[in-house]
């Protein structure tokens, strides 16, 4: 049966068909939908883990216990999971173990553009790279086989355009793979120096065997068309190259990309006069080919930065471009992403924006948008969980420099569980008086509403104990008088908490609790509530526009609220000094 599937759906399907039993992951664009889809299949266990390190450890244990297992993450998630990855590379597997990394060239929703192919040689594990949805499924099944045959973790590398593009996939049945016997084997599974030393030799031997496999693997394919020009490529770049260059050139398409098929590359290079390497971001293939003493053209003409596209290849290889026949005199206004209408994050950012001495340490989530005008609060954003720990460092630097200011760290509920909690412990342990604002919107918002340890539900829909953030904070040692639980839709309450936090001299926590406006439950509850502006009472002071709500318009000298966008959060109602805004409709409880 044929189905149109995204790469992520196909990866999930591949794991299912491969008889995979257990999966654990933390959401991250562009990887999130893999687990969401895998979780729907019968007879599998799939869970959201607190972070990528935990997830990889869960599936490592599952693999040692004999189950075919996999984890998925966005590229930067692999940095978090790098610790278990590098040692599991030594321990190897019992049940097949696959780590999916979904990289984000072009940074559609990421903080950096790292190319995780470089992890495979660094960790010394096998790597596969699909180029469309059908390959996502086929390669996933092959990855489990490779993992068990060669006793290795397999890195499965996707990118945004593979994960989030849809193409046709032929479905097959699941192969039932029994969970393997577990036998105690401390030389394999206890990595103390004496064992690891031996293991390192075995890992090097394993790489040689994998290299032989790579040269024979059906995942690596030479397409010989013409002897003038040859192209070595992998992943989505193959599809772009075929689009532009068609059957006019020869290809070596690399699907098993670590260890590289050295003999195949050598043979291919001898068959063509001119060799190009077409790859997105880092010169991973190119450097390896050059080390083999083969000359090729790559990053001289194909940029390292940003996402690759057929246009870039056309210009680089053929020196041509498709005409763009239409130009127009008007210009579209910039349209950066913004906090949604009714977003509960807006109230707290609005309240903090009144304090010009605040240094706001941000984090990863929708609330990174707290940096955008008009609130313009957030100062920094590094990585998951860094808001509290980096805030701590900034506070120390401020104190030593004797600078004025007050550090506020902003972190979401899911991010707090992911890795913010450790920073908060540090601030309590070392008694650093920063204000931590936990934006508890009852979901993992940016990635599209995944459950988390605070929501009371698991990935597979089971009821779970909802971890109470207030109790966690209290038990860690934040004093009760230094904790405020506020509803960010209530500006008076929020302003009061921010004021008290600003004056505090000890570690202080504000928990701003209100569900994400896009959650189904929130939309149902607020389906009939709206705010409306009375044009006659409006003095056009634009105070409501300073909240940055996209539902509020200022057009033809009239301020109005788009009733289709407004959810009646009433922040604008609360900032209006002229009673020009009224609330309409009742909440559906």
């Amino acid at each position: 049966m044929k189905k149109i599937m995204s790469g992520n759906e196909a990866i999930a399907r591949g794991a299912y068909e491969a008889g995979c039993h257990i999966a654990s992951a933390y959401p991250g664009t562009p990887s999130t939908e893999i687990l969401e889809n895998f979780a729907k299949y019968d007879g599998v266990y799939a869970e959201w883990a607190t972070n990528e390190k935990v997830a990889l450890e869960v599936v490592s244990g599952a693999s040692i216990g004999g189950a075919r297992s996999f984890t998925t993450m966005k590229h930067v998630g692999l940095n978090v999971a790098a610790d278990p990855l590098f040692t599991m590379a030594y321990e190897g597997v019992n049940g097949g173990l696959v780590v999916v990394t979904a990289d984000d060239p072009g940074m559609h929703s990421s903080q950096n553009e790292q190319d995780n192919r470089l992890y495979a040689p660094h960790a010394k594990i096998a790597m596969v790279e699909p180029s469309d949805s059908q390959e996502c499924k086929t390669f996933m099944k092959e990855a489990f086989k490779i993992s068990e045959e060669f006793d290795t973790v397999v890195l499965f590398r996707s990118t945004t355009r593979v994960s989030h593009s849809k193409s046709i996939v032929e479905l097959e049945d699941r192969i039932e793979v029994p969970i393997k016997e577990y036998t105690k084997n401390i030389k394999k599974y206890v990595m103390i120096p004496a064992h690891s030393k031996k293991k390192h030799y075995e890992v090097e031997e394993r790489l040689e065997k994998l290299r032989e496999y790579s040269n024979k693997s059906s995942l690596n394919k030479a397409e010989i068309n013409d002897s003038k020009v040859g192209v070595v490529t992998s992943g989505i770049s193959y599809q772009y190259a075929k689009e532009v260059l068609g059957d006019k050139v020869s290809y070596l398409k690399i699907g098993f990309s670590f260890p590289l098929p050295d003999k195949m590359i050598r043979d291919f290079s001898k068959k063509v006069d001119k060799l190009y390497v077409i790859e997105e971001n880092e010169p991973y293939l190119e450097n390896a080919i050059k080390v083999m003493g083969i000359s090729c053209i790559g990053k001289e003409i194909i940029p390292i930065c940003n996402e690759l596209s057929p246009d870039i290849i056309r210009k680089a290889i053929l020196g041509t471009h498709i005409d763009t026949p239409y130009t127009i005199d008007i210009k579209a206004p910039n349209r950066p992403p913004v906090l949604c209408p009714g977003c509960p994050h807006r109230g707290i950012f609005y309240a903090v924006s009144k304090y010009k001495d605040v240094i706001a340490s941000g984090d990863i989530g929708c609330y990174t948008l707290g940096m955008m005008p008009p609130v313009s609060v957030t100062d920094t954003c590094i990585c998951m969980g860094a808001s509290i720990s980096a805030g701590l460092g900034m506070e120390k630097a401020r104190e030593l420099a004797d600078r004025e200011g007050r550090v506020f760290s902003f972190i979401g509920d899911s991010t707090f569980f992911h890795s913010g909690i450790t920073g908060l412990i540090d601030s309590i342990y070392n008694n650093i008086p920063i204000v931590t604002v936990i934006l508890d919107n009852r979901t993992t918002g940016m990635t599209g509403h995944q459950e988390n340890p605070g929501t009371g539900k698991t990935l597979q829909g089971k009821a779970a104990p909802a971890i109470d953030i207030e109790k966690v904070v209290l038990s860690l040692g934040i004093k009760k008088e230094n904790i405020r639980l506020v509803d960010p839709y209530n500006l008076e309450e929020t302003n009061k908490a921010v004021k008290e936090a600003h004056q505090a001299e000890e570690p202080f926590v504000i928990i701003a609790k209100q569900e994400c406006a896009l959650l189904k439950s929130a939309r149902a509850k607020r389906a009939k509530t709206r705010c409306v502006i009375d044009a006659e009472k409006c003095k056009k002071c634009k105070a409501c526009l300073k909240t940055g709500c996209p539902a509020i318009n200022f057009k033809d000298n009239i301020v109005s609220i788009d009733e289709n966008m407004c959810n009646g959060c009433s922040l604008c109602f609360q900032v209006c000094k002229f009673e020009a805004i009224s609330k309409e409709g009742e909440l559906n409880e």
Binding site: I330, P337, V338, P550
Partner: protein, 193 residues
Amino acid sequence: MNKPVSILFVGVGGQGTILASKILTEALLEKGYDVKMTEVHGMAQRGGSVTTEVRFGEKVYSPLIEKGDADVIVAFEKSEAVRYLSYLKKSGIIVANDYEIYPVTVTIGEEKYPENVDENLQKTVPNTYIIKAAKLAEDLGNIKAQNVVLLGALVSALNLTGIHWENVIERLVPVKAAELNKKAFKLGYESLK
């Protein structure tokens, strides 16, 4: 081999470009075409400018459309057609929603929303169709169905015949929204006649 047909959906995060292109791709698959679609998730989905790309034909390699190579641009918001105009090929078609969403850059006075977008588009691209999709959907009872109105207009513009659109819509939208969406599709389809 014929070149694939490329359709670029542009709009504002949250307008439903993904569902419209999903209905389209499922229908094209049924019709026996090779088809690829690519979309953007995450940060940009929060009220930012978004694109979804659909390509179909005998054989499709790249899911991405090159500049100057889109057969149709379907703009869910008027000024987005302006932003992506360079993607349109010669004698290409624009189907634009007669609907404006002011970005925050405009409401806070940093930038201006362009004037007379319709006339400018029509003057520049002869095959421009301005569809009152938001209004039509709102009259039907839910502005969200504007995406399916635009899909209807696109299908009419491309003359994609031999597909049971109603069946595909029924399969892909929630049960209680099926009737409304079927009506929305029909209105869109007829608005181009």
